[in-house]
Symmetry: C2
């Protein structure tokens, strides 16, 4: 197992990105999910034992990639995502979603909390990313908050100075178009320093700390 980091609660995000900077392929939508070719971004995950365990599946490979994934989510006490991502993925996540913690969804439309199996609940926050962050912090206690995406929410958190650490899983893939992870004006204010790089044949994991 990886480890040895101290346990100050952090706000983080972990996301798979193509070498040309996309986190979905072209024409991503509620109907098309990650867009054309976008599922290739996540192919490195599906055979990992730690990915399968979170999805209620047995077996899988115990590799360094699996450790990276386990490490990324082991200490997460709450998740924040955007409404569009929720709409796209809710059905796929099913009755026992892979989060196993409270998930705060930033939206404009008020909606009742949905309690799922396995520890996941969906809580809808209509007051913006700062409010979502505060509610997630209260739910997470001394554990980390993970910003699940999409790109818009991640960039809002970055620009608001509310991210401590980010890990990007760079996939050797050119998608050509789709949704870029980094696109909004203002991101140039965010200062990064490299925390760690781990690579495998299918993906390179680059982790950065945000410098205050």
């Amino acid at each position: 197992m990886l480890g040895g980091e101290n346990n100050v609660a952090k706000v983080t995000f972990d996301i798979s990105m193509s070498l040309d900077g996309f986190i979905t392929g072209p024409n991503d939508s509620v109907e098309q999910g990650l867009g054309e070719g976008g599922e290739q971004l996540h192919r490195w995950l599906y055979d990992l034992d730690s990915w399968r365990e979170r999805h209620g599946l047995d077996g899988g490979e115990s590799t360094r990639d699996a450790e990276i994934l386990d490490e990324a989510f082991r200490n997460v006490g709450a998740v924040v995502i955007g409404r569009r991502m929720f709409d796209i993925a809710e059905e796929e996540w099913g009755d026992n979603p892979p989060f196993h913690v409270p998930v705060f969804i930033v939206t404009h439309r008020p909606r009742q909390t949905i309690v799922k199996e396995g520890g996941t609940s969906y809580i809808f926050v209509t007051e913006g990313v700062e409010a979502a962050s505060e509610q997630a912090r209260a739910a997470a206690g001394d554990k980390d908050i993970s910003i699940g995406g999409g790109a818009d929410i991640i960039q809002q958190f970055l620009k608001a100075g509310m991210v401590d650490e980010l890990q990007i899983h760079i996939v050797p893939l050119l998608l050509g178009s789709g949704t870029r992870l980094f696109e909004q004006p203002g991101l140039e204010q965010v200062k990064l320093e490299r925390a760690r790089v781990v690579d495998s044949p299918t993906v390179t994991h680059v982790k950065y700390r945000v410098v205050r």
Copy 2:
């Protein structure tokens, strides 16, 4: 020294890119060079002994980054660049440019070859990237061809299937805008596989092979 690769002559490019995908900052121009903040992309180079040697300077640090740089250019027999890059950098490159091999400049305007000190000559090619590639191959013999940039020429070579290997030096930096390395339609046809990853505190070197 790194090494151990076979000596089949390759077409490669090596370029520094910000984490958000830019190879210049905003407002790059003949007057402004790499644009606002763009010089940060190359800061990792300036203290390396191998960079200094190519620029006719003594001293510098002999680090893994220095080896990576030396390896990238040791076997280069010719360079191809775009006209805009030439216009931006010609003055900075001076009388004894850091190439020390023939440099083919893809341009629309015919111009006489310029012979500089130290083995560099500037040869202007008006018939497009394929012609530049052929002339560079003839000049390079059994050595590699390096595509020096900018982004437009690199993408033209990639889309034409004329690149064998690429190495991107990912700098922990968000530039927010500028010139993106990967932006042109058609790049999604290029298939990559990871060849090697080397990291240091200031830069992560990711090398890919183009899969035919």
